[in-house]
């Protein structure tokens, strides 16, 4: 609710902006040159094309870095007007934007200039209370139309923590010229790595390095596509003094061990338990009999602390340093590293060793092994040293640290022994001084994220049904159920279930809802009883037709586009259902759908129908494996899900005896 208030404030303020009246402004020569570039013909859905996207970075001996951004975009459709916008992010305490100017050139040559009077300066994330990130925005979308060229330059400065940088050559828009240049003090050297593209070699002129790509095609958004960060080309750059390999005031890293050492220095002092932390840890585990019980008890407590994002003192490294465990315990809130650190501290208080693990949440393919840099991470979880008696899919074996149970103390719905989908399979850094290293996080097998449903149904001669559903889910499937159960009010939860049931059985009346959340062991159970008056359709008082797949599987992938450009990313889960329908007296099965059996490398699906003792038993089972399927196999995967959809709509026909 409060987020929406702030969002409204933005909208209102932007609405309140006085209309700028421009008269015969001048645009710089570079923008006129960009505007003169002949643009290739794109698909009609491409809203704009970036003519020039350039960042010139100059590093001083003292470690100050100046950035000059030069950007030009041509608007191709009315949807594209939104791209006539300049956005620059900065940190209030560690950097500033010295200058930001934009211009808009209409097809008739008229130029409008935008400067600080039209610049909006706002917080980056309205919902975060403690956040130093801000953005400056020049929004010319109201003035833009098809054919205009919008461009801007921005000059900013910053004292970065690391002598490292990242340049993304494009977003989703096609980009004709994208260039990153780095000017270093005399005697310094730079090196780079290229991701999502063949190696981009820099041109070197004196102490200036420049990386450039031309004519990049648009990146179309598609359902279940890899993230943009895994599609758009980017480079990672390291720079340092040539003689010592060191930075001025900022850090440089040669390998992951160095990153681990640096991060350990930030984390370790904060994890020392004081009396309050020790007392709380003992209180929570007093009745625990095993290490697993102790870990679960502390995990359960930490997960339930309020999550508050705290981005303060980022420029001083606070983005990587947790608050002291005792402080977080006292306030009962914190961000991901605070929670991981508190859990680590509490475990230490009861003689269990744990290590912070930094990871990128949101795209398991984002972190690249070849670039040792803390800036690849945005999240912090924990690895707990465990003995052989603890067996779980989230245990990894580290060559030096031994068996580690991986756990996310921030995700309040994912229990010990499981890991959020978006973290599975990702590279992550175990922060353990010299012993730390980059390791791949475990990927859960399909059977660890499972939904099992049993349905007992009685069908009347007129088509009415009474049904009792019994569901048991585990892993990430249980997480999504738990999230709904805990995230909605009781009436909201009931409404959600009503919407789900009535989507399959119109006018269904739910008589019982009984959720059972076992958040310690990670199970979620749900019983739902309902009745629906006209579920089956009686035809000419002779045939009774009904669909035994009464309610949906809860999740479905709709691949409806005829063509595909990017791979298809699937997560892993399984679903099984057994529906027992007691048939009405005086009817017999006239026709049943054929059983379906699909088996592919990415998943399998089967249905069966059987009539026995006046009962129809319908089963369906889907197993989907976490995988990324090349676009070339799109038709196969589309057909797989199409056949599932068709199978689940197939009716059973009963006829009067």
């Amino acid at each position: 609710m409060r987020k929406s208030i702030l969002s409204i404030c933005f909208v209102l303020l932007l609405t309140a902006a006085p209309a700028a009246v421009a008269a015969a402004d001048e645009a710089p020569a570079w923008l006129h040159q960009a505007a003169a570039i002949k643009v290739p013909t794109y698909d009609k859905e491409v809203p704009a094309v970036v003519l020039r996207n350039e960042q010139a970075v100059t590093v001083s001996e003292e470690g100050r870095v100046n950035y000059v951004t030069t950007y030009a975009v041509r608007i191709l459709t009315r949807d594209g007007r939104a791209y006539a916008e300049a956005v620059e992010v900065y940190l209030t305490k560690a950097g500033k934007i010295r200058e930001m100017t934009a211009w808009l050139i209409r097809p008739n040559g008229f130029v409008k200039k935008y400067d600080k009077n039209e610049t909006v300066d706002r917080i980056s994330e309205p919902n975060d209370i403690y956040d130093e990130y801000r953005v400056k925005i020049i929004d010319a979308s109201d003035d833009a139309d098809v054919g205009v060229v919008f461009g801007y330059t921005a000059a900013s400065e910053e004292r970065p923590l690391f002598n490292q940088d990242v340049w993304r050559f494009q977003g989703r828009l096609p980009t004709l010229q994208s260039r990153y240049s780095l000017t270093l003090p005399s005697g310094w050297r730079a090196s780079s790595m290229t991701f999502n593209h063949e190696k981009v070699e820099p041109t070197i002129s004196g102490s200036t390095y420049a990386w450039e790509l031309l004519n990049l095609p648009p990146i179309k958004p598609e359902v279940s596509s890899p993230k943009l960060s895994n599609l758009a080309p980017r480079i990672a750059v390291n720079y340092a003094r040539g003689d010592t390999g060191a930075g001025a005031t900022a850090k440089t890293f040669e390998d992951w061990r160095q990153v681990s050492r640096w991060a350990s220095d930030l984390h370790d002092p904060q994890a020392v338990p004081d009396e309050s932390v020790t007392a709380k840890a003992r209180e929570l585990t007093v009745s625990s009999k095993t290490d697993l019980d102790r870990i679960r008890a502390i995990a359960h407590f930490v997960q339930r602390l309020q999550y508050i994002s705290i981005d303060i003192g980022i420029g001083k490294g606070n983005g990587y340093r947790p608050h002291a465990a005792a402080q977080v315990l006292a306030k009962a809130y914190g961000d991901c590293k605070d929670k991981a650190n508190l859990m680590r501290s509490m475990l230490r208080a009861i003689n269990i060793t744990a290590y912070p693990i930094v990871i990128y949440s949101g795209d398991p393919t984002y972190v690249r092994e070849e670039w040792a840099s803390p800036s690849q991470f945005n999240h912090c979880i924990i690895g707990i040293k465990v003995g052989d008696e603890i067996q779980a899919a989230t245990v990894i074996v580290h060559p030096v640290l031994g068996r580690l149970l991986i756990f996310d103390a921030t995700d309040e719905h994912t229990t010990v022994g499981d890991l959020p989908d978006e973290e599975q399979g990702s590279f992550a850094l175990i922060v353990a001084g010299d012993s730390g290293s980059l390791v791949r996080m475990p990927t859960m097998p399909p059977e660890s994220s499972q939904l099992e449903r049993q349905a007992e149904v009685e069908l009347s001669p007129l088509g009415a049904i009474t049904a009792k559903l019994k569901e048991q889910s585990t892993g990430q499937t249980a997480v999504s159920q738990r999230r709904a159960f805990r995230g909605l009010s009781s009436s909201g939860y009931k409404q959600m279930l009503e919407a789900w049931v009535t989507r399959g059985a119109t006018s269904a009346l739910i008589s019982r809802i009984e959720p059972v959340d076992n958040s310690v062991e990670g199970h979620f159970g749900l019983d739902v009883d309902f009745s629906a008056a006209q579920y089956g359709q009686l035809m000419q008082n002779r045939l009774l037709v009904f669909n035994p797949a009464i309610v949906s599987r809860r999740e479905a992938l709709f691949l409806t586009e005829a063509k595909r450009e990017h791979p298809i990313v699937l997560d892993s889960h399984t679903f099984t259902e057994v529906v027992r329908v007691k048939l009405p007296a005086g009817f017999e099965v006239d026709e049943m759908p054929d059983a379906v059996k699909l088996d592919t490398p990415f998943g399998s699906y089967k249905t069966s129908y059987e009539v026995k003792n006046g009962q129809l038993v319908f089963t369906r089972a889907l197993t989907q494996r976490a995988t990324t399927i090349p676009a070339a196999q799109y038709q196969a995967i589309r057909s797989f899900f199409e056949r599932i959809r068709a199978a689940e709509q197939a009716p059973v026909v009963l006829a009067r005896k």
């Binding site: 209309a19 949807d79 209370i129 003035d143 339930r304 006018s507 409806t560 049943m592 026909v653």
Partner: protein, 667 residues
């Protein structure tokens, strides 16, 4: 200060009043004593199963003058009991937004844990953030997180908010929060001084708080107890017609009865709009030309109406594509002649020109004020013009007043925006208060007209051509939605609408027609292919002939309801679907779905038949709802209404069976 900024301030006032609700004067670190019973409370008192409940919520509103400038001081104080983790999640982050000329002072907040431990928020944990800054204008917020919140805890916070340069005039104070409240108390202390002839007044809506009591400090307080949380529901009346709230405003104590007030207001309006509707020679000439050979009053008015819509560009219309720069250059039209000469004007200019043209044609035309029923339901027993800020042009034809709004580009002649239909309108008049209820358009005025010519394949694929026309209010909504979109966006909107029902549908040859045409129906034309539309078993195909309803869920899914059900306007549907059946298949069962009626409110008539050769299925369906002006249904009627729409959904899902056989049978 710009008008927009004033509106912004008003909005922020309302937002803050609505969300960060108010309290009494407390000096220094004084907190109200904690009742151990509240700390021990295990279950909510007002509503069961709630996640958190406010034990009290107090707001003191005081108008004063400081340094010669007016200001309003709000003192807010709220205490909330947390029952669940969800309650902790939703209640423990606090944002207090404010503008440049406001200030937030004296914030104090604390958590009382279930064991009685008190955690006070520290000054350094309260952050002032500039949410957004543009030029000299800023919106800031004081933000903080409550420490140590857990189920069973009490949280409480208070602050002082000073809004400069205005009094609490026409502000809405709500009694409901996002959680239930045991006691809500508002204390109002009006400004008074010698020579200040305005008194603060309060009018409550959907609420019966206690009578105002004069307190020792000169303020007046009112309380309301056991107020449930506010919940939004689909198809509910406008929020402020169901939520309890209070309008606070200043007015002179003219001791006017509502009748007298409206009479005077109508009279003032009549005088106010005289110059704006002035008939000049140019206007007379334009009226005569536009009327041409029309003879009847209706024809004449319609031609003048169409003249205003087609010849005068509405500069408020976003589809005109004016940039902010273009708008800034526009000159103000002071008279109808100016609007005529420039060929463009604001919505007001166009309405005033229409009034002048109609007057020039010999009719009695007046400006009529009325309320907007998307905001709240109007009660004329409240003698104040606050709620009747919308206006149309009333034209006397014979013995009746008819209402027109040519400034609403897409509203058909003879209709008003739905927000202004079925509303009491005050026709300006030099002598009397003339109240006339604007008509509510009948269901047939707002219609979906859908035609599909399709072919079914043996494998269940359905393919063919579709045309959908939208009329009346339905067309207005579609046109408003699409008119500033690109052709691609319009196609995408259509694809989304169709794929929401038919996930496998493939649409080609899409045409979106008459999007900005004020008269013609908004129209979609497209070719569609839906693999797996009909379900195939060994020897049968199951076909749902209600093609336009296939895949839609029931209108009402939930079994319980808090608010009345409200449809914005009556509407109707007229479908014709022809499906060529696959060779080798004949009808096994072709019973028509059953029609039903609840006339005059609604009627559903479906029919299914086959051509003589048995090769083509013809399905027709008509439906209307809201007949007789029935668009508002009390909560008590919910089950009946739900059952009616469930029945509609069931019949729309009616399936026809085709069997692999040689002979076709007529139903």
């Amino acid at each position: 200060m710009t008008k927009t900024l004033s509106i912004l301030i008003l909005y922020l006032s309302l937002l803050c009043a609505a969300t960060l609700k108010p309290s009494p004067v407390l000096a220094g670190s004084d907190w109200k004593p904690i009742d151990p019973a509240d700390l021990a409370l295990k279950t909510p008192k007002v509503e069961k199963d709630t996640d958190a409940e406010a034990l009290f919520w107090e707001v003191r509103v005081e108008d004063e003058v400081e340094g010669g400038s007016p200001r309003t001081v709000f003192r807010h104080y709220v205490r909330i009991k947390i029952f669940t983790e969800r309650g902790r999640e939703t209640q423990s982050k606090i944002d207090i937004p404010f503008l440049d000329n406001w200030s937030i002072q004296d914030i104090a907040a604390r958590t009382i844990k279930p064991d009685g431990t008190i955690l006070e928020i520290k000054k350094e944990d309260i952050l002032e953030r500039t949410i957004v800054k543009e030029g000299r204008t800023k919106i800031k917020a004081k933000s903080f997180a409550m420490p140590g919140v857990e189920p069973g805890a009490l949280i409480e916070y208070r602050w002082k908010e000073v809004r400069r340069d205005r009094f609490a005039n026409y502000i809405r104070l709500h009694f409901q929060r996002d959680v239930p409240v045991q006691v809500v108390k508002y204390s109002l202390k009006p400004y008074s001084a010698a020579g200040f002839d305005f008194g603060m007044r309060a009018m409550t809506f959907q609420a019966q708080p206690s009578p105002f009591v004069k307190e020792k400090d000169g303020s007046y307080s009112t309380t309301m107890t056991n107020v449930p949380a506010f919940r939004e529901e689909p198809r509910m009346p406008p929020e402020d017609s169901v939520r309890p709230w209070m309008l606070v405003y200043y007015s002179e104590d003219r001791k006017l009865t509502p009748d007298k007030f409206w009479k005077e207001f109508g009279k003032e309006n009549f005088e106010r709009y005289k110059s704006r509707t002035k008939v000049s020679d140019e206007v007379k000439q334009a009226a005569a030309t536009a009327i041409g050979d029309a003879t009847t009053p209706e024809q004449k008015i319609e031609r003048l109406f169409e003249f205003c819509r087609s010849k005068i560009k509405n500069t408020n219309d976003d589809a005109l594509g004016l940039t902010s720069e273009d708008r800034a250059k526009l000159k103000e039209n002071k008279t109808p002649a100016d609007t005529l000469k420039r060929g463009m004007g604001t919505g007001t200019d166009i309405d005033m020109l229409f009034a002048a043209l109609v007057t020039a044609a010999g009719f009695d035309a007046r400006v009529a004020n009325l309320s907007d029923r998307s905001d709240t339901f109007f009660e004329k027993s409240f003698p104040d013009d606050y709620f009747i800020q919308s206006y149309d042009i009333a034209v006397r034809v014979g013995d009746e007043w008819r209402f027109y709004d040519p400034a609403s580009t897409y509203v058909p002649f003879g209709m008003l925006r739905w927000q202004e239909e079925s509303q009491e309108a005050l026709v300006s008049d030099p002598k009397e208060a003339i109240w006339v209820k604007t008509p509510l358009s009948a269901p047939d005025k707002s219609k979906y007209k859908r035609v599909a010519k399709l072919r079914l394949s043996e494998d269940g694929t359905l393919e063919g051509d579709v045309k959908i026309e939208y009329y009346g209010h339905l067309a207005v909504e579609r046109k408003e939605w699409d008119d500033d979109d690109s052709p691609t966006q319009r196609e995408d909107t259509l694809k989304e609408i169709v794929k929401e029902r038919l996930s496998t549908a493939e649409l080609t040859d899409i045409r979106v027609e008459n999007v900005t045409d004020p008269v013609k129906p908004f129209t979609y034309v497209y070719h569609i292919r839906v693999p797996g539309y009909a379900q195939r078993t060994g020897k049968r195909l199951f076909l749902q002939p209600a093609f336009f309803q296939r895949g839609s869920g029931p209108l009402f899914a939930t079994s319980s309801r808090h608010h009345a059900v409200y449809f914005n306007y009556p509407w109707s549907e007229e479908d014709e679907v022809t499906i060529d059946l696959p060779a080798g298949f004949s009808l096994d069962s072709a019973e028509s779905p059953a029609g039903f009626s609840s006339a005059p409110i609604s009627e559903y008539k479906p029919t299914a038949a086959v051509t003589k050769d048995g090769r083509t299925l013809i399905y027709k369906r008509t439906f209307y709802f809201g007949g007789g002006g029935n668009i508002l249904f009390p909560v008590g009627a919910y089950n009946q209404l739900k059952a009616y729409f469930d029945q509609l959904h069931t019949q729309d899902n009616h399936t026809i069976t085709l069997k692999q056989a040689a002979v076709a049978a007529a139903p």
